[in-house]
């Protein structure tokens, strides 16, 4: 496991991850900032303090895996991987451009640190089940994480995978449902309600943990509890805010798949910069 970061360091890293998301989508003039910002804290915690990863040897066989089933939030993953040194943070400006390896949705074997190609909703969790099954059968100790959107739960294939994960007792698998409540066409309960999310997973035989997606203590506790659970996979249902960290993007469905213009970019970056200075200006937290 990675060495633990302090709360302050986590917040600083998450802020930098968010800046990368804005940088990438602004330069690409497209992309999905809203959902990327809502998962930024979880992705930050996973890669900074929880998962066993090897930036110098991204395909190390014993590494923990993370499948971004909600693949459209690639900017969050890329930005985090850049913070961990899988590639230079400046590369975020190349997101979605001709010749760039930072494709609109994650691509395995092209982008260091990306464990599975995703983007077509509902499929990532199945691949994560396959990775977890391989680990169990082979006696490898790695863990597998997969992050899904709440709208993604409308895909029937998610529930095929949910059935599979519980049936084969994949306790090395942890799914994280990013419950920001919004999808492209509006509020998830107006478009096609997946609620009650917790009871559905429970009925499918999963260990269910509900947390606040923007509280690192809760994220840590949930991931540790998931790791200690035996005999069944765990799902962490995290209540999140779409667009979290950029005032004018928060809880707005229209920021699902729209890039900021120059004015919005400047405002978003100055908000995040101010936050970063506020965090960095504080005295280091006592460990």
């Amino acid at each position: 496991m990675e060495s633990k970061l302090s709360q302050l360091d986590l917040q600083i890293t998450a802020c930098k991850v968010r800046m990368g998301i804005i940088e990438g989508t602004y330069n690409a003039k497209s992309g999905h900032p809203g959902g990327s910002l809502s998962v930024a804290d979880t992705i930050t915690y996973l890669y900074s303090s929880h998962m066993r990863i090897f930036p110098d040897n991204p395909n190390e066989p014993t590494r923990d895996r993370m499948v971004l089933s909600k693949g459209h939030t690639a900017p969050a993953l890329y930005s985090m991987l850049a913070q961990k040194g899988f590639f230079p943070p400046e590369e975020m400006k190349e997101l979605r451009k001709i010749g760039s390896r930072l494709q609109g949705h994650p691509v395995r074997d092209k982008i260091p640190g990306v464990d599975m190609s995703t983007g077509s909703l509902g499929q990532g969790i199945s691949a994560a089940c396959g990775m977890a099954l391989a680990g169990k059968v082979s006696g490898d100790n790695y863990r597998v994480y997969t992050v899904l959107g709440d709208g993604e739960l409308q895909e029937g294939m998610v529930w095929e995978a949910a059935m599979f994960g519980a049936h084969y007792k994949l306790d090395n698998l942890c799914a994280i449902v990013d419950n920001n409540g919004l999808q492209i066409d509006g509020r998830i309960n107006d478009v096609m309600s997946p609620y009650p999310i917790d009871k559905k997973w429970e009925a499918f035989g999963w260990n269910v943990i509900c947390i606040d997606a923007h509280d690192f203590d809760q994220i840590e506790q949930a991931l540790n509890d998931a790791q200690n659970k035996t005999g069944q996979p765990t799902v962490i249902i995290q209540k999140s805010t779409k667009g979290k960290g950029v005032s004018f993007m928060e809880d707005k469905a229209n920021w699902h798949g729209a890039a900021p213009n120059e004015e919005q970019y400047n405002q978003a970056m100055s908000e995040l910069q101010a936050r970063l200075e506020e965090l960095s200006g504080e005295p280091p937290a006592a460990e």
Binding site: P61, V67, V107, R108, D109, D115, M116, S117, G119, S120, Q123, I125, S126, A127, A128, C129, G130, M131, A132, L133, A134, G135, V137, S138, M157, E160, A161, M163, F164, H167, Y168
Partner: protein, 311 residues
């Protein structure tokens, strides 16, 4: 001549393959007793995973397994592996170039009594559109087993097509050599070429023998690998025989007939006449009667050759 369904060959070959590749995983979607992965399941229960009736998830799971370096065979009926799960095959297996072998059985109308809902005559067309997908359609037991064993060291997404109907075992197991992407010339001849795949290869040989009696010397080529197509062999046949008949238990749209026509029209245009399912659905009935009705027989091939010779 002994007859064996290639799905039986498939189940048997998996048990041989695991000797070469101990990392083999076999997945099935509640049809193990029909795809015949049950043979493998009985011998290696800890390496066989039934996914239940969920072909889409099964192929996604296969992708995840393959991403860790395992060799994976995922099995279902062709209709559901290639049809229902098309987009999972495209996005989770094809695009990431994962080493998943799709063992699709019950292809074509020879499924028989189950009827059109289960008679997949579109799978080759669907799989051909996926970049990097290899498509193998073995003609008999010997070729089917050899194809499965060849997967031990053939990397990349591959679709293997097997049938339900017992078919004649005409290849000699002692001398037969299987090479992915290489067509097999079964009979020389310069008047016309019959290119066949799967269960129509043996009728093609029979048709050519009958045609000799009628003064027509047809070349017979078995194309077991539909993609990548052995273009060299096909173009050579076009040049040397001037006309081609393609026979397959598949729609005339998008299958081997289309692949041959595409190659020939670009590189050495000659008439290509396709014998297959003519843009229609099958229906219930005994397999042999259905093949008869749709002209997928020795006589059907002879008629098609005569039609092509008159072009």
């Amino acid at each position: 001549m002994e007859k064996i369904a290639t799905r039986i060959s498939y189940g048997n070959a998996l048990c041989e393959l695991v000797q070469k590749r101990p990392d083999l995983f076999v997945l099935d979607a509640d049809v193990a007793h029909a795809t015949m992965t049950v043979t493998f399941q009985k011998a290696y229960p800890d390496r066989h995973f039934d996914c239940g009736i969920q072909e889409c998830n099964m192929l996604g799971v296969a992708a995840g397994l393959a991403s860790t370096g395992k060799l994976v065979f995922a099995s279902a009926f062709a209709m559901f592996a290639a049809g229902r799960a098309y987009e999972i095959v495209r996005n989770s297996i094809g695009y990431p170039k994962l080493n998943v072998k799709i063992g699709a059985t019950h292809a074509g109308i020879s499924v028989g009594e189950d009827g059109a809902s289960h008679q997949c005559c579109e799978d080759i067309a669907l799989m051909r559109t996926i970049p990097g997908m290899t498509i193998i359609n073995p003609a008999d037991d010997v070729e089917a087993r050899a194809a499965v064993l060849a997967m031990a060291d053939y990397e990349g997404p591959t679709y293997l097509r097997f049938g339900r109907l017992p078919v004649p075992v005409f290849n000699n197991p002692d001398t037969y050599k299987f090479e992915v992407g290489k067509g097999v010339t079964l009979k020389d001849g310069n008047d016309i070429t019959i290119i066949a795949t799967g269960l129509l290869v043996y009728p093609a040989i029979e048709a050519a023998e009958e045609l000799v009696k009628q003064g027509v010397n047809a070349r017979v080529i078995n194309i077991h690998t539909i993609k990548p197509l052995d273009e060299e062999l096909v173009i050579k046949a076009a040049k040397e025989t001037g006309k081609i008949v393609v026979c397959e238990e598949h729609s005339v749209i998008g299958g081997l007939g289309s692949a041959v026509a595409e190659a020939v029209s670009e590189k050495f245009p000659v008439p290509v006449v396709k014998l297959g399912i003519n843009d229609t659905y099958g229906h219930s009935g005994p397999a042999l009667q259905l093949l008869e009705e749709f002209g997928l027989t020795t006589d059907g091939i002879i008629d098609t050759v005569k039609k092509a010779l008159n072009k």
